[in-house]
Structures are given as C-alpha cells and as structure tokens.
C-alpha cells in the first residue's frame, strides 16, 4: 500500500511546545513509522505554518518533505492526516485537512478541557473552544493517550468507541500501538479509504471579478463546459475568504488579476497558498511562495514568470467566449448581420472588440482608419466596447481628421446579439493591447474563433496562440503600421472560410473543455 501522510507540525513550531511532552510524543510516533515495513511506500509531508517559528533542526528529518501550503489539492493517492495537538494552535490553518472527508484524519488526543473549566473564559474564547470540539468530532480515528481522554471523547463528543484506540504514555510500545491501529484499519476494516473519491473532482474557484463581469463569466462557462469532468463552485466578490477551504473540494483555486486587487483573496493566497491561476505575469506585491501549482494561461506568461521570478508555472489555455454558429458564418448569415448594422457590402468593416480606452490604443485604431480612408479604402470602424469618458476625446480626434462619420460606437457594452453581428459582419478585426505581459485577450480569442482576419499587436497575438490570419504589429505600434496591415487584409480580400482548417486547429485547444482538462491535469486530480 502507498499514499501520503500529512502531519500537522504546528505544535513543533511553538517555541514553548517544541520540546514539550506533546511534541515529543508526535516526534516519537513519526520516528517509529520509519522502522515499519508497512509504511515503506508512503511519503510524509509536514505541514508547517510560515507565520510561526521555524522548526527545530532535529525535527526536520521527521518527515520526507515540508510544505508551507495549507491548501493542497486532493490527489488520487490515499492520504492520511495526523494531528498531534488538535485542541491547540491555528485551527483555520489546518481546516482544509481537518475538514476534508477524503483524508483519513487521525487525532492524537492527550486531554480535553472540560466544559466547566471554560466558564471563566471570554465569549470569543468559549466559541473558539466549542469550534475546536466540533472540528475534533470530524476526525476518522482517535489515538487517546489516556483512558480518561478516551472517555471524554466518547461522552463529550459521542465518538463511537470503535474509532478510539487508547494507549498510555508510559507504555514502551505506544508508538507501535498507534501504527498498528492504523495499519489494521488499512488491512482489515475496509482500508483507509474513507478516502472514497467523488465520481468527478470538485473544484472551488475564488474569483476577484464580480459575477457579472466577462472574466468571471469565463469561469462559470468553463465550469459548465466541464460538467462531465468536474463539479465547480465559483466564489466571487464578497464570498471570497477561507470558507471554501472547509468544503469538500479537491482543489480550491484562487484566481488573481492585478487589475482587480482583492484584499481577502490576497489574504487567502498568502496565508493558505494552494493552487492559483494568475492572469497577469507581473506579480506585483503578493507573496506567492505558498502557491502550488502556479498556473498561467499562455506560454508567454509561463516564460515571463520563469524569467522574472524563477517560478515554474503550468500552462492552461485561453478561450473564446463567443463562438459563431456555422450558419452565422455563411454568406447569407454575414449579409444579414451587415444589413442589421446598416453596412453596405462594398464597405470595409473593421471591428474592435476591446474596451474603448487609452490602454487599448483606441486612438491608434481611429488614426489608422484615417490612413485607410486617405488610401481610398472604404473603411468604417466599429467599436463593440463600452463607452468611457475617453470616448468624447476620440470623437474630437475623428472630427479633427474628418472621419467621424466612419466611426461607430456602441452606446454601452454591446449586447450579445450585437456583438455576434459584429463578429459575423466584420471584414477585419483590430485588437491592440500592448500592456499585456503575455495575458491572453478574450476579444482577440473571439476574433480568432470566428476565423476573422485581425490585426493585433505581437504580445496579444502570441499570448492567444494566434494563427496566421492574425497579422501582427509591434507592441509599441503606430497608426501607420496598423493601417498597413489592415490595408493588406483589404487588398487580399480573402474569404474567411479559407482559414477554416487553421480555425479548427485553434479551437481544438482553445475551448473551455480543453481548459478544464488542462486544469485538472495541472492540479494533479485528473
């Protein structure tokens, strides 16, 4: 038999308890395991709280490996969680282990304070005491170091007697008794697999995005697309916190984005670590040392975090959020979409699906349009993005260069119908987002997924694994360079159906199903 033993080492980190009876007891138990053949193929991982003192040197060798995360993924391996002092130290830090039904949870119980002995405590301390008792009750097996403690467990917490093994500290073979009891459960009492797995993994996502935003919607969509592969809950906005860590999840995945700093999510990542999807390769001021696995969405991001932070990241993928039906891509479908937009057939319809902002170089797109018009190309420019205060400045620029009548804005974020119409009707896309640092851009993914020839800056194109029908300009670009690429697309007059094979290839690995598959692979819970 093989598996993982997680050992809570918090009690060994306490300067006062490091050499106390409780700590010595746990140390003896761990040393004894090494002598037992039964455990030869098991790996011991010591859970350490980085916020506490470091372990004494003599304790480092008690386990095979130290982990600083309190939020590991639940992998397919059989796992045991051992806590040598369940009524002390930071309860929250170990909740993920202590609460999880997939671990075989073992508590070494020395003593339980009696309820009457807490009467003098403040209310919050009493609540804390009761919480500890409640969580103690969830263990699967109790090794009581005294008959008195066993009685307390049985009477106070109503723990069934068959879950309790009692030994006395003075006995020479206490440690062997402990391991014998667990081994016996492994051999004869249906195995240690309390550890029955869900049919499908269960995931929790902690997203800083408000639920109504497109970024958060991506995760709902991804979860929906993978309904057959895993179950998922998304905790967004105010729901973020350590609460999901006590859920029956195989992985609690934090999603981080620099543009949406979220104090509570940051706390979760810094305190508990665990799996993290990082949307921005610039790791500003968050401490990522406890994150594992570290996941990004593009090879560019992977290279950047390796280069800048020496972090080995797993790569997921980027996904379009809007997929046109085949019918929408037929000549008839496109003509109908153009009619709805009021765009004549002979007009060169260039569409930008990004938000209107200086960051998205919207001004560059408008000035590129001026070039196109001056070259006698009958271009019009449509923006699907939301209006911002910046729009009036852009309108002034368009007026200044006499192209205002050729620039069209949405009055707000385009409805999905309008967005789809624009994707279907457009002759070319233009997506300039030079600040990306390898972050995939959903609007560009949507253009690619629609087979729409698009002009994009290099970083955006690379981050989205763009096929050849995405023409690139440098990240620091100019209206001329953008216009030249758009002019080439106009002159080529390529039917977008000729990109069908490339588009199909792209869609093979850029969809929510593939995202989900990659995710559980990287998490190690596939």
């Amino acid at each position: 038999m093989s598996g993982i033993i997680y050992v809570d080492l918090q009690c060994l980190q306490d300067p006062e308890c490091g050499l106390s009876g409780i700590s010595s007891y746990l140390a003896n138990l761990l040393e004894a395991r090494r002598r037992r053949e039964w455990w030869a193929n098991w790996k011991t991982l010591g859970i350490v709280d980085p916020a506490r003192s470091t372990l004494l040197p003599q304790h480092l060798s008690l386990v095979d490996e130290i982990i600083h995360s309190a939020n590991p993924c639940v992998t397919g391996a059989t796992a045991i969680y051992i806590n040598g002092a369940p009524m002390t130290h930071d309860l929250h830090y170990r909740l993920r282990f202590q609460s999880h039904p997939k671990y075989f949870r073992v508590a070494v119980v020395h003593d339980l304070p009696l309820p009457e002995s807490i009467e003098h405590l403040a209310l919050c301390d009493r609540i804390e005491y009761l919480a500890r008792l409640a969580w103690l009750r969830k263990f699967d097996f109790y090794f009581s170091t005294s008959a008195y403690a066993a009685t307390q467990l049985s009477e106070l917490l109503a723990v069934p007697l068959d879950k309790i093994e009692t030994a006395v500290p003075e006995a020479e073979d206490t440690a062997d008794l402990f391991w014998n009891a667990i081994e016996e459960r492994g051999e004869h009492r249906g195995g240690l697999a309390v550890i029955s797995r869900h049919q499908r993994p269960r995931l929790a996502f902690l997203s800083p995005n408000p639920p109504e935003t497109s970024e958060a919607a991506c995760f709902y969509a991804m979860a929906a697309a993978n309904r057959n592969r895993f179950d998922a809950d998304v905790f967004a906005g105010a729901l973020i916190g350590p609460t999901p860590l006590v859920g029956d999840y195989d992985a609690v995945v934090s999603i981080l984005a620099n543009d949406l700093p979220h104090a509570r999510l940051r706390d979760v990542v810094e305190r508990y670590g665990g799996p993290c999807i990082v949307n921005d390769a610039r790791l500003t001021d968050i401490d990522f040392r406890r994150v594992s696995p570290f996941m990004v969405q593009s090879l560019t991001q992977q290279a950047l975090v390796k280069q800048n932070y020496a972090i080995d990241a797993g790569v997921l993928t980027s996904c379009p959020t809007v997929l046109l039906e085949d019918q929408e891509l037929t000549d008839a479908g496109r003509e109908m979409a153009r009619r709805r937009l009021g765009t004549p057939a002979e007009t060169y319809l260039v569409a930008c699906f990004d938000g209107i902002s200086q960051q998205h170089r919207t001004e560059t797109c408008i000035l590129a349009l001026e070039f196109l018009r001056s070259w006698n190309i009958p271009a019009v420019l449509y923006f699907a993005g939301a209006a911002t205060p910046y729009r009036s400045e852009l309108e002034g620029i368009a007026v200044q260069y006499n192209i205002a009548e050729f620039v069209h804005y949405s009055s707000r974020v385009a409805s999905e119908t309008a967005y789809r119409d624009l994707l279907a009707a457009a002759d070319a896309g233009v997506q300039i987002r030079p600040y990306g640092f390898g972050k995939p851009t959903v609007p560009l993914s949507n253009c690619i997924a629609s087979g729409l020839p698009t002009v994009a800056n290099l970083d955006a194109a690379k981050s989205c694994d763009a096929p050849a029908y995405v023409h690139t300009v440098p990240d620091v670009s100019s209206p001329l360079l953008v216009a030249e690429q758009l002019a080439l697309l106009w002159e080529a007059k390529t039917d977008r159906r000729c990109h069908a094979a490339e588009r199909a290839d792209y869609l093979q690995t850029h969809n929510f199903k593939y995202y989900g598959q990659r995710l559980i692979e990287v998490l190690g819970i596939a």
Binding site: Q400, P479, L481, E484
Partner: protein
C-alpha cells in the same frame, strides 16, 4: 514672388545640434537677399529682417557660442510685420520638424491652396515606421505632422530612402515625386587632403545613445576583443538618450572599470573632429535612419566607416572607405574591427576616403534654393 524661410523652431530654441542644424546650415550658405526669414506668431506668419539669416549663419559658423542676442533681437516677432502668403506666387521653405500644437494647428487649418506653396524638407518617417524607438505619447503629434506632409504636394527628402518611405507607405502609391536633397558632410570643417596612417587602435561612435543606434551590439562585439588586444579603445560620443536603466548602468560601470572604454556626452564640433580623425574607423550600425550624417562626416575628415548596409547616406557611395557589415551581428562586427586592426587594411580604407564624392552644405543649400525657385 517671395521666398520665405520658416525659422519658428530655431528662434524658439536657438541651438546648433539636432534638426536645427539644417536650418542653420541653410542660413550659412544662403546668398544674401534670396529669402526672407519668417516665424509663426499668434497664428500668423511674421516676416523678420533679412539680416537674421546672416546672423544665424554666423551663429552656426561660430559653433553657437556667439550672436545669440543678435538672433533674439532680429528674431523677435515684435520687430517684424505680419504677412499673408500668396497662393499664386510665394514660396515658404519649412526646413524644420515641428510637434508644437499651435504650429500643427496652424498648418492643419491652412487651406490647400496656401499649404501647397510650402516646401517641406522631410527627414524621416521613423516614428511611424519604427514606433518602437519612440515614445508612444508622441504619436498624436507625429500623426498630425505627417498628415500635414501628406497634404503637401512638394516635399524635399534628405535621402532616397525617406522619399520611398513617404510615397510607398505614407501616401501608398507607386508614384514618386519631390526631390532628394542629400545633407552636407562638411560640418566639421575642411575636407581631409591626406590620410593619417597607422592610427591608434581607436574606434568611435558618434551618435546619441539610444536603442536603434545599436550601442549594445557594439559593446558585445568589443567585449571579447578587449580581453585580447592591448590598447584597444572604444569611444561613445553623444548624449545618453532613452536607454534602459540596465544599459545606462552598464555604461557607467564600463567607464569606471574598463580603461578601453570612454564616453563623451558633451563634445563640441572641434573635439568630435579630433576624436574621429584619430580613430582607425568610426562605427555606424543604426537599425533605422532617415539619412545618417555621422558616417559621411567621418569619410569627409578621412576616417573610414564600419557601417550596416541600411544607412541611407552611404547608399550609392560604393565601398571606398566603407566596411559594410552584413548581416549585422556582434560576430561580424567583431570581424570588421579585427580587419581594421591590421595596419595595411586600415591605411588602405583611410586612403579610399579621399576619393569619395560627398555632398556639402553649400551644395545642399544650392539644391534647396533651386528646388524652391523652380516653381
């Protein structure tokens, strides 16, 4: 018919370097009374005293150290009188590049009939064609300036490359118009009459230190050589422009730790000529240029040039005095420097510089004048 020369930028900032140099050199060689200096003031052109042109010429001849007060007095708009450009007979030469919003607005609002009486000298289109080398914040002003150039019907280009870029890319046509006006190579004084032989093992780069000039590549090429060749000297002559903080730090460290490296950020014309003349070769391997004055100025004073093949000013000159590096990379650049360490080769290339046919500022001004008066 009147010929006007627009000196607005120079009068705002009378210096002898950068783009101002061209206006200065024109003034230096412009025959007396051929053109009236003007500047833009409160949305109108103001004609100034013709004496201003001679004063500017003297200012440049003296290296910018004197005559500033005279220029300020003669160039004060209050001492001039407003004029209106005739749409049928006047010509305005605009030898300056401008990004200032009031001047851009002035030209943007100008009717075509008047704008077409202007003769713009076009230096390069690099901010549009190679934006990676420029501040993105400059883009709107650059666009506005280029829009004015696109409306103009008569432009003079300092190189064939710039002319091609203008028509092929900005205007997007196969047609070619305008005129090519090669810049003068003689800013550092008289032409060398004989070549200095067996010069010290010194190589100079005259250029602002910025990414497109490829100083990093030159350092990469020299690093293995410094370890092998005693006395090898590399001089960077030019201000530090926008470079990464890492590269700036590297230069500072090199200047302290490597006795074979020197950086001169403030050099007068005489000092530059002196450094260049004492060099085995100058190096000019810029990735993008509208012209490339330093290599032809180097040839003028008798110093060969190690250059990339894309420098517009060197196209059409053949290979006398020039060692082209193609492809441009550190290894090939190292090989080029090694070639010049051999006295025979260096002396032969130096000798060749004496027979290269180079334009002067006088010939440039004459061409400009002929172009402006050809209407």
């Amino acid at each position: 018919m009147s010929l006007y020369i627009d000196l607005t930028e120079f009068l705002t900032n009378p210096i002898t370097t950068g783009i101002q140099r061209i206006a200065g050199e024109i003034c230096k060689y412009l025959p007396l009374g051929k053109a009236v200096p003007i500047c833009l003031h409160e949305g109108r052109y103001v004609a100034l005293s013709p004496k201003l042109i001679a004063a500017v010429g003297r200012f440049f001849a003296a290296g910018g150290s004197v005559h500033v007060d005279e220029i300020r007095r003669l160039g004060a708009p209050g001492n001039g009188h407003p004029i209106t450009i005739s749409s049928t007979s006047d010509i305005v030469l605009v030898p300056e590049v401008f990004m200032e919003s009031r001047r851009l607005h002035f030209f943007s609002e100008m009717p075509d009939s008047i704008l077409h009486r202007h003769r713009f000298i076009v230096y390069d289109l690099l901010p549009a064609t190679h934006p990676q080398y420029f501040w993105p914040e400059m883009m709107p002003a650059i666009f506005a300036y280029h829009k004015i150039l696109r409306r103009a019907i008569c432009c003079g280009f300092i190189s064939e490359d710039t002319r091609n870029q203008y028509y092929a890319r900005l205007v997007r046509t196969n047609e070619r118009g305008g005129i090519v006006l090669p810049l003068g190579a003689d800013a550092f004084g008289p032409r060398a009459t004989h070549s200095l032989r067996n010069r010290p093992l010194t190589f100079s780069i005259v250029a602002t230190i910025e990414p497109r000039k490829n100083h990093h590549l030159i350092l990469e090429a020299f690093e293995p050589l410094w370890r092998q060749i005693a006395g090898l000297q590399l001089l960077f002559i030019g201000k530090v422009g926008w470079v990464s903080s890492e590269f700036a730090q590297k230069l500072r460290e090199l200047a302290v730790t490597n006795s074979g490296f020197h950086q001169y950020s403030e050099c007068g014309d005489d000092a530059i000529r002196n450094h260049v003349q004492k060099s085995r070769a100058t190096i000019y391997v810029s990735s993008a240029e509208g012209y490339g004055l330093p290599p032809v100025e180097s040839l003028w004073v008798g110093t060969p040039v190690i250059a990339s093949t894309t420098i517009p000013s060197l196209k059409g000159l053949g290979s006398d005095g020039i060692h082209f590096v193609e492809p441009l990379n550190a290894a090939d650049l190292t090989q080029a420097v090694l070639s010049f360490l051999k006295d025979d080769y260096a002396n032969r290339k130096a000798e060749e510089t004496l027979r290269v046919n180079l334009p002067t500022w006088r010939s440039f001004t004459q061409e400009v004048l002929r172009w402006c008066l050809s209407d």
